[in-house]
Symmetry: C2
Subunit: 353 residues, 2 copies
């Protein structure tokens, strides 16, 4: 029994926040010292490293569960299934619903319960729960769906990733320019043919890596109100990711007897363009290959930034829907999904279209 | 392949908060009106309905992940397994880490990642993630472990429930007397004999039930600081639970061909003594049985209150360790776990010792 993706959807918020919009911010470093460099220069350098030119923010009325429901409903429609036949509704996020006016998260009821309500699914047998696994949470949700499918404990699953990083960003931290809002989703169904999840790998590195991505005070001086923001030790995350993600992908391919040359596309969590390029380079270097196949890695980070759990399902949906015309996938293609994020967690899934 | 519980552990906080300690509180109703009844009378009536005489609170230095690690380490020790052989570390909670001084939850990195770090597990192959499913989250975690075991995707799993409800309680709400802090855990391993999980049922009711348990303002007048607290529509929760939990248990038993008379113990989420008694009464009534078997339902709510996801694994551990001398279970006994909570979610697991 294979776990087959039979539909996808995403929600891309309409507000475009351009890099130039950050030029009026005052940035501080982790030691709470103002960064003396000209802000326009900071923004230019940021673009060079991350590839991000703009990102999307939701409006003040929206929540993570609200946009998650929009993405989920789109995936259900795309798959053509009756929503009432969904057995598992799995929602990955990391911050719950954070409103525009308060820092306190709202996770009761779970986002999955709210999304099920919002979509209008009535069947009590549709079990709705949230998983927290850092940015790789959506991909881990897909692995969960696969486990329940393989165990014969579920048939149709809806796996959603939704996050509003704009609500947990410190505007005095240059990393705030990375963060974006978004939601993406897929429907999975059991299949008996060749299509579906071939295999996966997953790992949690929780030694010295535990605090590479965490919550901390604003970098600015007036940071004593107790509010915490998303914080990254960027250099350490980068060095960790470019070693461990290629190894996780290679492990996933090898465990399942897949040659690297047979991989058509690699959908990597949209964290940082330079980092993702370095991951691909290192992956092929592990096989002694120095020439990276043309167009192996779709990217949407330039316009969409890093929306955490939402990046991979959004990117996948965009490729499937022809929004990125230089990328396409066909029946029988082997593709790879891979992610890295807070925990630090890493995962990879090999999939035959 | 069966999923067998091979060890259990719990952490019971040392601070005892007695009912009498609430007599100095000023209680308000959901309409923000002071409750004019004498507080001592309120407390006496509370005891009559819920059975709760005292509950436990952690000290200000502790977090949900900290006490979850203590419970998890106890379960590992009890099982005798090498902690480095754990494939999945599943942590159920609903509020993340909430400190004693701020209402903002901390969920990055996940509590599972922190617990893995705290226990000192180094193997990156131990995948650590959180699940949010209301009070039934721990039991859902056990169902997750079962799915991964049945799918051949995991062997040894550590399933922890940890919650500090004292950190999200509104002291002006009578329901605050229900809430308690605690953590419980089990280790599961694959087995080929008769022992293990026989079957389960799970459901999410997210129509009108969605907001039966949610977050809301303090009932007191000075409630405009934006902080939200755990709120319950007690009557609706009660009426829902006494109908749906018996049906979920019966469904679980019937799907797996188990006679009600062969059930030795039923471990129900410790929400409210009267409610749990009504659930048992209704369950047996579904089979036309009016005489409830003696000692079928262990309870620890009198001294421990309702600690959300922690109640069932804590109760199970107490029975296994002989802390409740009127209750014991023996090899080959069939027992049932069942829970209900925010979502609204319900689940039940049939297990052969």
């Amino acid at each position: 029994m294979n776990t087959v993706i039979t539909g996808s959807g995403c929600f891309i918020p309409s507000e475009i926040k351009k890099n130039a919009d950050f030029e009026k911010h005052t940035f501080y470093n982790a030691n709470n010292q103002p960064i003396l460099q000209d802000t326009a220069e900071i923004v230019t350098k940021f673009k060079q490293i991350t590839g991000i030119a703009e990102r999307r923010y939701v409006d003040a009325t929206m929540t993570a569960s609200y946009i998650g429901a929009l993405a989920g409903a789109a995936a259900i429609k795309d798959s053509g299934i009756d929503a009432e036949t969904i057995d598992q509704l799995i929602v990955a996020h990391n911050f719950g619903n954070v409103s525009a006016t308060t820092s306190q998260a709202d996770t009761v009821p779970s986002l999955a319960a709210r999304i099920k309500h919002e979509i209008g699914i009535k069947n009590p047998g549709c079990v709705a729960y949230d998983i927290l696994f850092g940015c790789p949470g959506w991909l881990q949700g897909l692995i969960q769906a696969n486990a329940f499918t393989k165990a014969g404990m579920a048939k149709n699953c809806l796996v959603i990733g939704t996050e509003l990083l704009s609500r947990v960003s410190d505007k005095h931290d240059r990393d705030s320019m990375i963060y974006s809002d978004g939601a993406g989703a897929v429907v999975t169904q059991p299949g008996h043919g060749d299509s579906g999840i071939i295999g996966y790998s997953a790992a949690s590195f929780t030694g010295k890596e535990l605090q590479y991505i965490n919550m901390g005070k604003s970098y600015c001086c007036d940071n004593n109100d107790g509010t915490n923001y998303l914080k990254m030790q960027g250099r350490k995350v980068y060095e960790f990711a470019i070693i461990e993600v290629p190894l996780a992908i290679k492990s996933c391919l090898e465990k399942n007897g897949i040659e690297i040359n047979n991989v058509k596309k690699i959908f990597i969590h949209q964290a940082n363009e330079k980092m993702d390029e370095a991951i691909i380079k290192r992956l092929f270097a592990l096989y002694g290959i120095t020439e990276i196949p043309h167009n192996i890695m779709p990217m949407n980070i330039h316009e969409l930034g890093n929306s955490s759990v939402a990046t991979i399902p959004t990117l996948y949906d965009m490729v499937l829907k022809g929004v990125l015309p230089e990328h396409s996938i066909s029946k029988k293609d082997i593709i790879v999904f891979a992610s890295v994020g807070a925990g630090m967690n890493i995962n990879a899934v090999c999939y035959r279209v």
